[in-house]
């Protein structure tokens, strides 16, 4: 029996999954509270013991023991660019695609107070972009100097800007003893997005430095490798599931919604070209596999922010409970993130919160149509991806995975007749990540893509709206 152990060091839970590679089955999954502050391995061994109890897996020889991590705040990044709609946006997308939490974005010349803000955040990695190849060099060089001059900043810098400035940036950074990696420009030409090289470089830095900085090195004594941040694993899984591998077909264009305690992540794997005639595309081209993260939409740590973003009225309308009950619930779960809802009222309110999180996160992720009136009549401009035709919608994240009827929540991802300009999926098939294996399969995809794909197709449960 050839086995693999897949581990996800989460911010709240450490999840482990044991997979039989030969039979392509999930043997067991288990989870335990993460113990990042003390010794990360404690929580891991707790989960492992539970796993072994389940399936009679008494310290079996695992062929692979690989992990992803979003523990200790995840991979926290700052993106710096030149024009907000251009290289700043491109840098942000590269960081998100690499599975980072983007804690700040900066445009134009950095001021000393902005450098102060970056110092205060002490990011894991800074992504420095700006200028197309052969375009503006002054700003990115200024910004490199500003970052180099800071005695507090020791974060590695990934420079992915104007190639004509690359050598000078390297010199500036190296001379002040900073760790700098030069990679291809995230925007080599105007409106051309090239984020894969930056994503790869970010991942290299993650493997070399961040794993150790997060106290995960200890984990590597027992397991083979911490391969990537958890969101990158989920995006990896989504891409494999959509595209297929060799002769094994995928499910086609899809949208994954992951509602967590702190954030709601949305991943789409689709081209998103206009589906109707006479629509022109505007703005930066979209990555085929795109991830967005909503830091204000979460079930626990961000419950208060969710309430603020969505508004109490909409929540009252959606769950039927009154204002006081909702405020009380949000207060309670916000201060006590480990809380699982048992009574009917709090479950009802949790459902409404989750529905709003899905609705708002998907609305922000998908493209929009805007009508422009010209002397020749109305014309239509699309920004972002048209996902109306997407085949599959996949739901994951605690609140969805453990729900008896997740369609109630996932409905928020669907196209709304009253908002025809918001290009959400119209008639997708709905799949639920019942075994909570998506991140694990993104990891397994690194070593056994075909097996990972087959397991996903077997274990994602098709559900109906």
């Amino acid at each position: 029996m050839e086995l693999a152990l897949l581990i996800d060091f989460g911010s709240t839970f450490t999840k482990v999954t044991a997979v039989d590679l030969g039979r392509e089955t999930v043997l067991a999954t288990a989870r335990s509270f993460s113990t990042v502050e003390t010794n990360i391995m404690e929580g891991f061994f707790n989960a492992l013991r539970e796993l072994e109890g389940y399936a009679g897996l008494d310290s079996p020889p695992y062929k692979y023991k690989i992990a992803c991590s979003s523990a200790a705040g995840g991979l926290r990044m700052i993106a710096v660019g030149l024009v907000p709609d251009l290289t700043v946006e491109a840098a942000k997308r590269a960081a998100l695609g690499a599975g980072a939490r983007v804690t700040g974005v900066f445009a134009h010349e950095l001021s000393s107070s902005e450098v102060g803000k970056i110092e205060a955040q002490d990011p894991d990695i800074i992504l420095l972009a700006g200028g197309t190849d052969g375009g503006n060099r002054e700003v990115i060089i200024h910004n490199a100097k500003m970052l180099a001059a800071s005695s507090h900043l020791n974060s590695p810098v990934v420079a992915a800007g104007n190639k004509a400035a690359a050598d000078e940036i390297r010199d500036i950074m190296v001379c002040s003893g900073k760790d700098v990696r030069i990679t291809d420009n995230v925007m080599p030409e105007l409106n051309v997005l090239n984020i894969d090289p930056a994503r790869e470089t970010i991942r290299t830095v993650f493997l070399e430095k961040i794993v150790a900085a997060k106290g995960l090195k200890k984990a590597e004594e027992f397991i083979d490798r911490v391969l990537m941040p958890t969101p990158a694993a989920v995006l990896n899984a989504a891409q494999l599931l959509a595209e297929g591998f060799e002769d094994e077909p995928g499910l086609g264009d899809l949208l994954v919604v992951d509602v967590g305690g702190a954030t709601t992540d949305v991943h789409s794997v689709a081209g998103g070209e206009p589906t109707k005639a006479g629509i022109s595309l505007k703005g930066l081209p979209e990555p085929f596999a795109k991830r967005t993260v909503e830091g204000d939409l979460g079930m626990r740590y961000s419950a208060r922010a969710l309430l603020e973003s969505v508004g109490i009225r909409k929540l009252v309308r959606n769950c039927g409970y009154d204002k006081e009950q909702i405020l009380k619930h949000v207060e309670k779960v916000g201060t006590n993130p480990g809380l699982l809802c048992t009574d009917e009222v709090s479950r009802g309110i949790d459902d409404a919160l989750a529905l709003m999180a899905v609705d708002t996160a998907v609305e922000r992720h998908v493209g929009k149509i805007e009508t422009v009136y010209t002397p020749f009549g109305a014309s239509y401009i699309q920004t972002g991806k048209d996902l109306t035709g997407v085949n599959c919608l996949v739901g994951t994240g605690g609140v969805i995975v453990y729900h008896h009827d997740p369609a109630v929540i996932m409905r928020g991802a669907l196209f709304d007749q009253d908002l025809p300009t918001v290009l959400k999926p119209v008639h997708p098939r709905l799949f639920i990540d019942r075994e909570y294996i998506l991140a694990g399969m993104g990891l397994l995809a690194e070593v056994r893509p075909l097996t990972a794909l087959r397991i996903m197709k077997k274990y994602l449960a098709e559900t109906h709206f």
């Binding site: 052969g134 105007l190 409106n191 022109s280 422009v372 020749f376």
Partner: protein, 138 residues
């Protein structure tokens, strides 16, 4: 041609005339310019943003549907505000509707901050030498 200049080319406003834009892009490229073509339906902000990011030295604005005066007002001010106030700005096309004296039209756009204004029917060959001269490339 190591020191070619970068220029931003586009059709401003709600204007969708794409043919002349392509011809101009081709002619300018043949003449050795690096052309950043932002195409039709281009807003003022897109011209300015494109010029900042690419380090362009000129904005070449087309307008063929008669609303140029409305669409171009404030472009120079935006460029100044964005820190590229000295960028060279040309405009050409069917700039106004109705019968107005060319002198009038030209001065309207010069006052708006354009460096050169071209009437309908201008050929690229007339413009390119002037562009070279204004950019100090000859």
């Amino acid at each position: 041609m190591g020191n070619l200049a970068t220029v931003v080319l586009g059709v401003i406003g709600a204007d969708v005339h794409a043919v002349g834009n392509r011809i101009l892009a081709y002619a300018l490229e043949q003449a050795g310019f690096k052309v950043i073509n932002i195409g039709v339906l281009a807003s003022q902000e897109e011209f300015v943003d494109a010029a900042i990011e690419t380090g362009a030295r000129a904005l070449l604005v087309s307008s063929l549907y008669g609303h140029g005066e409305m669409d171009c007002r404030g472009l120079r001010e935006k460029a100044v505000e964005a820190g590229i106030g000295s960028v060279l700005m040309y405009i050409g096309g069917n700039l106004v509707i109705g019968k107005r004296e060319w002198k009038d039209v030209e001065s309207t756009f010069i006052k708006m901050g354009f460096d050169r204004v071209y009437p309908p029917g201008t050929l690229p060959d007339d413009v390119i030498p002037q562009l070279r001269q204004d950019l100090g490339l000859t």
